[in-house]
Symmetry: C2
Subunit: 210 residues, 2 copies
């Protein structure tokens, strides 16, 4: 069970070049933002990074995997620059509706920002088709974000603002699902007003039973 996979001899990660790793991330992010994901090639990333192609193929299985790691690295560094690890936690002012609207509005703004929209779309699309990558995408990017909602909703339950019998996970999907639906399928424009209406309608269903 624990034998090395017969596919290939695994490289020695302890001898890995941190310098090349970072150069690859920088090149990948730059190329995607400049020319778009579809036109970005592994050969192009290698050339831009001043790196041999084999160095990429040795450590990543696909272009999408490189970009995902680059994206995660970027997020981790930005996160770290802000200090604490609770940076993205949803605020708790005591007003659940206001707190959720604040976060959903910010999410709407991100989705309307090409710098965020383009690479995230590309990763999401790739993850939809490639289960392996999709699992990593979901686990590393999506789920942590969803956790913020779970905790905020649980706090609201403790405060008596939400029916204690409601499933926080289901509640969160009612907020995030419609937003992603509009975003990914471009059915209707994403606005702050939409975020507000969404929160209001969902919270009506979550109100404690009279």
């Amino acid at each position: 069970m624990s034998e090395p996979r017969p596919t290939k001899a695994a490289p020695d990660a302890s001898r890995r070049s941190e310098r090349s790793r970072r150069a690859i991330f920088d090149a990948a992010l730059a190329l995607v933002s400049e020319t778009g994901y579809a036109k970005t090639t592994i050969e192009g990333i290698a050339a831009r990074a001043g790196v041999g192609k084999q160095t990429i193929y040795r450590w990543w299985p696909s272009k999408a995997a490189v970009l995902l790691d680059a994206f995660l690295d970027l997020a981790a560094r930005a996160n770290e620059a802000l200090g604490g690890d609770a940076r993205s936690e949803i605020p708790d002012t005591g007003d659940l509706a206001a707190d959720l609207k604040y976060v959903l509005r910010a999410t709407v703004d991100e989705m309307n920002d090409p710098a965020f929209d383009a690479p995230t779309r590309a990763l999401a699309a790739e993850g939809i088709v490639d289960p392996e990558l999709g699992a990593r995408f979901t686990e590393a990017l999506l789920e942590p974000q969803l956790g913020y909602y779970v905790r905020r909703i649980q706090a609201a339950q403790a405060a008596g603002d939400v029916d204690p019998d409601a499933d926080p996970r289901l509640a969160l999907e009612l907020l995030v699902g419609p937003l992603h639906h509009r975003w990914l399928h471009r059915t209707l424009p994403l606005t702050h007003a939409y975020a507000d209406d969404l929160v209001d309608l969902v919270l009506r269903g979550l109100a404690p039973r009279a």
Copy 2:
């Protein structure tokens, strides 16, 4: 404004070979189901269909566009075989919750069926990244389906089962968004129980105000 696009001389659609068109659809669907979307190539479709590559390039801009048309053609033929054009309308037994659960359970079953899952995933993913194709995907496949929900919800409003001030469009997205979210991102399993819980929670928010 109405001059022919300088890109290319448009082919004469009236002389188009119906035989080749059908052969291309059949080959595309067969190859996608046999070897998967990613491994399906335009050259492969042409060979399988006994058709010149140019015949495909003359009428479609991309592999995804071919598959979308093939899918629509398949759906149209299956639809026609069933008779009426109201075939997929959501039933109205007077019990809104039961009717919605029936439809959402059927949707869950489709999403769990590889024969439906694989090509739909591929098309959705392609549409997410390619706005042109995404618009056609949304318009031809997604929106008609959403219309069924709108009409059923409006009927419920007329019957007094749903708050008349609620926006049917928003209500529908509360049902469909979370389902698609779980489906596309594979966060948690899609079950009939989930569909039921979803309907119950959403309808709580849609109940007429006391």
